[in-house]
Symmetry: C2
Subunit: 332 residues, 2 copies
């Protein structure tokens, strides 16, 4: 258990380090607390022994350890009101009634990336909980047809079919079959229905049924994959912890890697009242030198995760506030 003064010192060190990006010397703390640097040094020593602080070399100031950041986030961080300017910039997005939900999310996280210099991530299940509403067929020439798939929440996907392989009638019949039999089915269950209910029937009377089946399979498959959107990647360059070319490359490659990015959504810890999770350094699967702050959102149309990635030396409270604000706004 840390003493009150120890907490105070830890907090000041974390805050100073976030601001200055430089190991914090005892002198800097003793200015703010009314005691001498020697006293602070003693406390810093014990905080280091306890694992909350680290040194970069024997005679350097102190830097928060991951455990130190964790303690700060869990116990010391104050969530003040969101900065007025930040709110103002975001509000222009939320007030714009013209925008579709997905645009609102992207644009607001673009703004967060811009104002914080961190990197935003949006993971959404394009068609979570969407059900097939209607498939329509639009012939566009003698040799080509466009098939349009619409869900009950307004999500649309399309696919071109060439008539060299299948006849227009076969397509129309197949689509009618799908419309009759599996409209209303959730998107992620459609492909099994397609296989067991549609395929056997079209198999009988459609010549190139294999090809037709594959085309629809692809469309539905595509609809049920997750969307990954990373905004403000170039902000990575702005932080001094990533001033080494190999480091930046590493992170860029991870930001481009689907598996890694989808893993942001995985370890959902429930024990968090505000529903915003912070993963510091080794706690995330991305990179030991970054922190990921994320939250999930649910709307009647969509379901997804938004996250901010930055150096461990991140403005934790500001980012938590921003995410919280955005989450609430998009859930309205």
């Amino acid at each position: 258990m840390l003493s009150k003064r120890q907490k105070e010192i830890l907090k000041l060190i974390v805050i100073s380090y976030i601001k200055l990006a430089h190991p914090v010397p005892s002198s800097l703390i003793c200015d703010k607390l009314k005691c001498s640097s020697a006293t602070i040094r003693n406390e810093m020593m014990t905080l280091e022994e306890l694992g909350y602080l680290e040194k970069t070399h024997t005679s350097s100031g102190r830097v928060p350890s991951e455990m130190g950041y964790r303690y700060y986030v869990d116990n010391l961080m104050e969530l003040k009101e969101l900065n007025g300017e930040d709110v103002f910039k975001l509000q222009t997005i939320f007030d714009n009634q013209q925008l579709e939900l997905s645009d609102v999310i992207t644009k607001s996280l673009q703004i967060v990336a811009d104002i914080t210099s961190y990197t935003s991530v949006i993971l959404d299940e394009k068609s979570h909980d969407n059900k097939l509403k209607e498939i329509s067929v639009v012939p566009i020439s003698n040799t080509e047809v466009v098939v349009l798939v619409v869900t009950d929440k307004g999500f649309v996907e399309h696919k071109d079919l060439r008539l060299t392989d299948v006849s227009l009638d076969d397509i129309k019949n197949t689509v009618k079959l799908i419309n009759d039999l599996i409209v209303g089915t959730p998107i992620d269950e459609i492909n099994s229905k397609l296989e067991f209910e549609i395929k056997p029937i079209i198999g009988k009377y459609v010549k190139q049924h294999e090809m037709l089946y594959n085309a629809f399979y692809d469309v539905f498959q595509d609809m049920s994959t997750r969307n990954i959107n990373v905004v403000g990647k170039n902000n990575i360059f702005k932080h001094k912890e990533f001033n080494e070319i190999g480091k930046v490359q590493d992170i860029f490659e991870k930001l481009d890697d689907e598996k890694t990015m989808l893993s942001i959504n995985e370890n959902n810890d429930q024990n968090n009242q505000s529903d915003i999770s912070v993963y510091i350094g080794k706690e995330n699967n991305l990179d030991d030198d970054v922190t990921v702050i994320k939250t999930n959102y649910k709307t009647d149309k969509d379901n997804g995760t938004i996250a901010i990635i930055g150096p461990k030396r991140m403005e934790y409270s500001r980012v938590v506030n921003l995410l919280d604000y955005i989450k609430k706004q998009i859930e309205r």
Copy 2:
């Protein structure tokens, strides 16, 4: 006018420098030509005076100048057969009949980026020469409607409309109007027709006509913008000319900048038989340290530009060959 031997030496220096990424010493050349290093040094001196070569410092080997690269590309480069392995990898894409054209282009340029370690760019006019084929309306709930716009070449765009603002009938009538009056119009001319032929009519009887007009305007606007697709950005990290963090950042920012990327398509020089253009260093608008090699393609569906971006020390002949091959394949 360069002597035969001077050409030989320039060519060898360019090739060696491309391979070794290190100023080329006279000794390296005299191994290949049968004469002494002193002779080569003399020739190198005159080539430098003429502007084809440069030194990094007084006693360094020689590096091709931009003029040297230019001379190499215009006069010395041999376009041998495309490497069998390269062809093989690409062929798997072109042989796949299932893929849509845009996927074929993206995937083949993805492969080029992978095998060369350069960066690929695809600029396409989504709906170049596309004409409006049909607009259809799919109601998806009591409060929401999806409007689908399809062109004669199978390009699809959609837009969600909320019924809080406009009635379903108003939408249907407007769509009928558009279908009756401006189907067949090229996409990039539609918005002026929309303004002068549709807006006045709906203005009379639709309450929220402004909002409805804007919605359609947005869709068509969106359809007539150009698509920019950059593949293999992270390959930038792999070249030693970009081993400085500021340099990489610069290039990344340019690769993300629409204006800069669209400018790749601008200066079209016709005097090039093979239709493949090479812009070395200052010749391009991107960055003095890169070369851009590009070509335009035309198909019945689409019209666009593909380009490869790499260091000036680029495998010119290989890239030209690859682009030429891809261009021919997609134009089939």
